[in-house]
Amino acid sequence: MQRPAGVSSRRLARSGIFLSERCMQTKLNRSYDSLEEMYELTERFFLNEDVDLSIRFPVHFVMEELFTNMVKYQPDNSNDILLAVKTLDGSVSVSLTDFDVDDFDVTVDRNVNTEAPLDERTPGGLGLHLIHKMVDSINYDYADRQSTVTFTKGTN
């Protein structure tokens, strides 16, 4: 994908999306229907920034798990979720901010038993466990009923 000629920073036609050479930011509706939009926006940004494929898959995975978790466990909240993505020297940093929510630290590993036999397995709970396998770092901040999860991923 070609970077817009002569334009280092611009605001896309869709309201609320900010895109520059090394960062993008957008607000997403609190709905699973936003997953496709989130994927397309970030994938376009990653292609523009030449982010390695080996990073893109786990970043999409973790980003979607965190977003899905916010949607699933705050169903009565009507606020949009703020997504911010940055690149630096081949690494990616992603932040997801949720507004007017209770304190829930998604970065605590739930220690799912991934060696359990089939009959002891139940669907659900894997996502927050898997994200720890895929990121280099992950941090959670909570203040004034606002939670932000930030994770980084680079080529190891």
């Binding site: 699973y32 229907d33 997953l35 496709e36 994927y39 898959f57 786990p58 999409h60 995975f61 979607e64 798990e65 899905t68 991934t114 060696e115 359990a116 036999p117 089939l118 009959d119 397995r121 139940t122 669907p123 659900g124 894997l126 996502g127 898997l130 396998k133 895929m134």
Partner: protein
Amino acid sequence: MFQIDFGNDGEIVCTGRLDAAQCEKAQAFMDGVGDTQTLDFSALEYISSAGLGVLLKTQKRLVGSGGGLKIINVNNHIHDVFRYSGFHAIFDIETPGG
């Protein structure tokens, strides 16, 4: 975009991205199959934990009746997700290289 349908040889072909928004569609299809089934993931680009839940629920039902799922042509990224999830021990999984 996610698609799921039977292929020419009776295998179940998944295409695109199986994320949380597509799981209802995938589960509805998988609820209609029985016995032993082969899932061809050669055109599946992505799977989320919600997609893993669809596979797990289907596998439990099929194994309970003497069948099961075989998943073939799994790309490296999805294979990593399976490995982190311990799915290699509860599914018959084949990567393109065997």
